[in-house]
């Protein structure tokens, strides 16, 4: 697993209080990991902070699963 993927997983485990085994690439923040809309906003903000990127709202809407977050950040992280 890439360094970015590791970091993304760690943030999700911390913020959503879930087990590492639940954080699979297909896992949806809202449907599988118990996030509500505010949790999702917080996750995106943590990704922005950790990876020093700015994720526009229209693109943030497309980040709904662990895998989508990892691919987005692998592409955009500086």
């Amino acid at each position: 697993m890439s360094e970015i993927a590791e970091k993304v997983k760690a943030i999700i485990i911390d913020k959503l209080g879930v087990e590492a085994s639940e954080v699979t690439p297909e896992a949806s923040f809202t449907n599988d990991l118990g996030a509500d809309s505010l949790d999702t906003v917080e996750l995106i903000m943590e990704f922005e902070k950790e990876f020093n990127v700015s994720i526009p709202d229209d693109q943030a809407e497309n980040i709904g699963t662990v895998g989508q977050a990892i691919s987005y950040l692998e592409e955009h992280a500086k």
Partner: protein, 416 residues
């Protein structure tokens, strides 16, 4: 107020600098222990006051799953913990109750000060890009405790927070009382909480010159009615009561601690922080409470005073008691439990109501500790219950709290 709907107390909860449950709190009160010590929540080295009455041995993980706990400021966590204890004590959830008729009115003078402070510090440290947490506002706002208590338990009746500085949770108790009396609810969870032992809380109260600076003796710093008192000691925590309409409580066979018979409110209309030295607003509030309760002053056994250990406030309240109670003043037991807990600000009325109800239950009045050199300006013929608890059958107890802004509140409980 003549009312057919009577209101009784059926549950108690507390998390305090003396103990993290109502029974543990009572043990600390009865033993006359001080909850004060050097501040651990931040490095107080450069502050004028470096001690406070902190809640000890509290671990949020024992009460909340990590994700939920993170969304609550400490004052909300304390509120939920104390309310849960009171609700469990009342047996409410084991009874077949209509949750649409159960409400929550909670007191907090300040709200999530730590959350406000942290988010602002973080913004200041950054490059100007706003990175405020989506949980910042819900953590900070003062109504988050009452909201969270209802969400956790599904209580869908009246729900709001009262804010009147250090009178906040007496105001919440009175508002809850009135909601039941008016028939708007059958059960109300009430009380209040505060968690302001932060850099901005301590620094702010220091700037007001309101807090004791007796850094060489934290346990001896809160000394109401003592000549050498030099200000209040900041406390934190929560006190919770379940109030219930009498017939509702009887019908489900609930244990009843006492009846809440009166609530009084008044305002000094004098100064934003200083108490009116004539005590006229305090006279008025106790008269209002007695009138609402429909009892004579001579029926009161115990007054848990506001008594914060400030040079001005303590004397004004005692003069007011002498004026309202006349000759009976010397027959009262009077004590300031803030000598032990410190001043819980918006949580004070909650924990002090719990102290009154425990005193009634155990037939014992908790003391005013650190009363070593009586202040000659204060009538020492009054019984301040100095330093050790006294045995007394407390049939009627009054609890006073007053707040910055000139808010005065007083509640009266009577044994059934």
């Amino acid at each position: 107020m003549s009312s057919i709907r009577r209101v009784v107390v059926t549950g108690l909860g507390a998390i305090t600098p003396l103990g993290n449950t109502a029974p543990a709190y009572w043990e600390g009160l009865r033993a006359g222990t001080s909850g004060a010590a050097i501040i651990t929540r931040f490095d107080p080295a450069k502050f004028k006051t470096r001690f406070a009455c902190e809640v000890k041995g509290y671990d949020a993980d024992n009460f909340f799953d990590r994700k939920e706990g993170r969304k609550m400021d400490l004052f909300t966590q304390f509120g939920v913990v104390a309310a849960d204890e009171a609700i469990a004590d009342s047996g409410l959830l084991e009874s077949n109750i209509d949750k649409d008729r159960v409400g929550v009115i909670w007191g907090s003078g300040i709200g999530g000060l730590k959350s406000l402070q942290e988010e602002c510090f973080q913004f200041e440290r950054g490059d100007g890009t706003p990175r405020y947490s989506p949980f910042f506002i819900p953590r900070m706002i003062a109504d988050s405790a009452s909201g969270n208590i209802s969400i956790k338990n599904g209580f869908r009746g009246p729900n709001f927070v009262t804010t009147s500085a250090c009178a906040s949770s007496n105001d919440s108790i009175i508002a809850a009382f009135n909601n039941i009396r008016l028939g708007l609810a059958d059960v109300m969870v009430t009380g209040g909480s505060e968690a302001a032992i932060t850099e901005s809380g301590v620094g702010g109260f220091n700037a007001l010159k309101a807090m004791s600076e007796r850094n060489d003796d934290p346990a001896g710093a809160s000394r109401p009615y003592d000549k050498d008192r030099d200000g209040f000691v900041l406390g934190e925590g929560a006190g919770a009561l379940v109030l219930e309409e009498y017939e509702h409580a009887k019908a489900r066979g609930a244990k009843i601690y006492a009846e809440l018979i009166g609530g009084g409110m008044s305002s000094d209309a004098y100064h934003i922080t200083a108490p009116d030295p004539t005590g006229s607003g305090v006279v008025l509030v106790m008269k209002n409470a007695l009138r609402d309760a429909g009892i004579m002053a001579a029926e009161v056994d115990y007054i848990n005073t506001h008594g914060t250990s400030t040079p001005l406030g303590d004397g004004a309240e005692i003069k007011a008691i002498e004026q309202v109670f006349g000759e009976h003043a010397e027959k009262l037991n009077i004590s300031s439990t803030k000598s032990m807990t410190g001043h819980l600000l918006g949580g004070a009325g909650g924990v002090e109501a719990v102290a009154c109800l425990m005193a009634m239950q155990h037939g014992q009045v908790p003391p005013t500790i650190n009363l070593h050199t009586p202040d000659p300006e204060i009538n020492q013929a009054l019984n301040f219950t100095p330093n050790v608890a006294q045995t007394r059958d407390v049939r009627v107890a009054m609890s006073n709290t007053f707040g910055f802004g000139g808010h005065n509140t007083s509640v009266v409980f009577r044994k059934l």
